[in-house]
Amino acid sequence: MSLRKAAVAGVAGALAWDAILRTAIALGVPTFDIVRALGTLAFPHGPTLAWWAAGTAAHALVGVCWAVFYAYFFWARLDLRPPLQGLVFSALPAVLALLVMSPQFRLMHLSTDSVRLTWDLMLPPLSPAEIGGLVLGHAIFGLVVGAIYTRPVGSRADRPPIRAFCTRSGTTGGKRRPPDGAFIFATGIECSYPTIDGGTWRRDEMEATGHYQRWQGDFELAREIGATHLRFGPPLHLLLRGPRVYDWQLIDEVMAELEAHGPEPIIDLCHFGVPTWLGDFQNPEIADALGEYAGAFAQRYRWVRFYTPVNEMYVCARMSALDGTWNEQRRDEGAFVAAVFNLASASVKMTDAILEARPDAIFVNSESSEFYQACCPDPAIEGRARFENERRFLPLDLIYGHEVSEEMAQYLRDHGFEDRYRQFLARDVPQRSVLGVDYYEWNERLVDPAGRSLALGELFGWYVIASHYWQRYRRPMMHTETNRVDASDAQRWLWRQWHNVQLLRNSGVPLVGFTWYSLTDQVDWARGLSRAIGNVDPVGLFDLNRDARAVGLSYKHLIDMHRDQPEYRLCPALAGLLR
């Protein structure tokens, strides 16, 4: 919710109402003069200017209250254009004005201090002109508020960046670090920053969730629940100001806090967006620019050991170039392949640049786990599911130099990317790479008779889907994201995911960590940040007031229960990577 925008809308709505009201009164139209009714409460016998000024100020204040109420509770609840949403909303204050406020105004204007109530006093008759004036005034107010109060979260992409992280205040407790090589119990700060609306509007989840103001307390909460690691993505769009121009001061204090007190960060360098000057993921120059950025980052913060160069490349390419939701907002296969290759190139160059500064860096390549199930024995549907089950691997195949299937190779040839694919195959993949597999309730999909993919819920579960990825890449793994939009089911989901992790680990897969993502609730996450609505999705360990959710307590319970067990106190797979 944007309090400032709501306040502006409320004042503007009240002033617009008053301007039209004054015009009507000047033209001799009889109507209900709300400004006079309010102003004469303060100055019953005062000069016109006095009651008008007092009445206008009081009316504007009431307008602000109603606009904030609209912003909190009503905005975007109806699928109407914003001014019409405001118009519908205005019925509520109009009814209250007619039934409660107007009779009470009359009582307040009496010269006595008490009266015996009669029906005439409780519901005094209003003339049609008075009723019309009140209804029309509220309608004008609603239209103006609705027209002004739009896109309450995010900011214009071409605006100079805001000052993001606030200054550190107070002191933090001592350093709390698990022994090196212990199993990773992680959470994360949601940090997506894609653009929407044709690249004109920037979504910034750290801003929307209040992390820029409360970062120090957020880190403390992560420590309090016992998280050993924190997936944390410094805002690339604010830090990378131009070619080789970096605003490190923005995060120096934040990084110093993490270095001194933990949790140990897994630095997420590119999370669904690029700075405005770089355009979008169709731009092949992002690979060099991000490679230089990653190298400079690793040089400045040499103590950082864990990196996610590019988060969820498949999701990023799909949402940007195939589903038309973010950044370039394309909907074609060629654009998707270009985005995948640009993202993979960026990931490789970032990895190489980080290794120059920190040869022992560990790369957690987080990717969304996906699975497509054909609905029926139709060759076309089964073929579609088979193709999607190959395509889900494409970005990881590139960065891990894994051969694609013949069908996927033909797909790459069709879009002119075979040569670049061959270059990836020749790559020497760093040994310290962890395959991060994210899992949500919609990651398993059913391909329906029309070829659409519909979320299936948890059909086979993380154990089965993650096993597909293990069989393909044979790299140390980590469960790097999960949560549940239905907060009442979040505890069950957490323990279920954990049992999946245990099962995979016990089956011999080198699994180094688990993550509940994210620390706090997120904003518009369930709708994929596709519209700037400002709806809170209760997926966090803590809500946006930073009050613990039940799943937050459960995660602490889980960590406390396991962290000192010998097999978690020393995780051989992670210890091997750290050597």
């Binding site: 904030v68 109420f69 509770f73 009470q104 609730d521 613990a548 039940a550």
Partner: protein, 174 residues
């Protein structure tokens, strides 16, 4: 409204103590509201039409505001702890108390008498002020009253059986 509140959660968080915090805050928020009632002569008029002394009116009214505060805190759950928007929720609640309570209950309790003039204005302003103060102060009053994450996380309801109970309930329902 439902969407917003459901996102925050109707149910208070597991570490919150909404009734105690709401009752305490309801009492504290009454202090500026009483000052305003006094300034508008509303308290004296209320006492007169209820046939009570001012002290008796306060003695009756203060516990009612504590109950109202507890009710607000329980009803608004997590939203009542929103530091940026609590004032609005509180004002809305104060307005509802005025519209439903002061406007209707007072005449019912006094044989049909109602406040008028500045005294009526004072009641309205005092309840809106009470609500705003309640909304602003509740997160602050609540903070030291909350249960600790450390102790609550140890409880069995946070453990592996939390999922089992939910699964069993789902199975029964299906």
């Amino acid at each position: 409204m439902a969407g917003f509140l459901s996102a925050h959660g109707y149910d208070p968080g597991p570490t919150q103590r909404p009734l105690l915090a709401g009752a305490l805050t309801g009492l504290i928020a009454s202090v500026p509201a009483i000052a305003l009632l006094w300034a508008f002569n509303s308290l004296q008029v209320e006492a007169r039409i209820l046939d009570l002394s001012v002290a008796e009116t306060l003695a009756v009214g203060w516990p009612i505001m504590a109950v109202a505060g507890a009710l607000y805190s329980r009803l608004f759950g997590r939203a009542a702890n929103d530091r940026s928007g609590g004032w609005l929720s509180g004002m809305a609640f104060g307005f509802i108390l005025w519209a439903g309570g002061a406007v209707l209950v007072l005449p019912a309790a006094s044989g049909g008498m109602a406040l008028a003039g500045p005294a009526a204005l004072g009641v309205f302003l005092s309840l809106v002020l009470w609500g705003a103060a309640l909304g602003i102060l509740l997160p602050i009053v609540h903070r030291p009253l909350k249960l600790s994450i450390e102790s609550e996380s140890r409880h069995a309801r946070s453990g592996p059986l939390a999922g089992l109970r939910k699964s069993a309930a789902s199975a029964r329902n299906s």
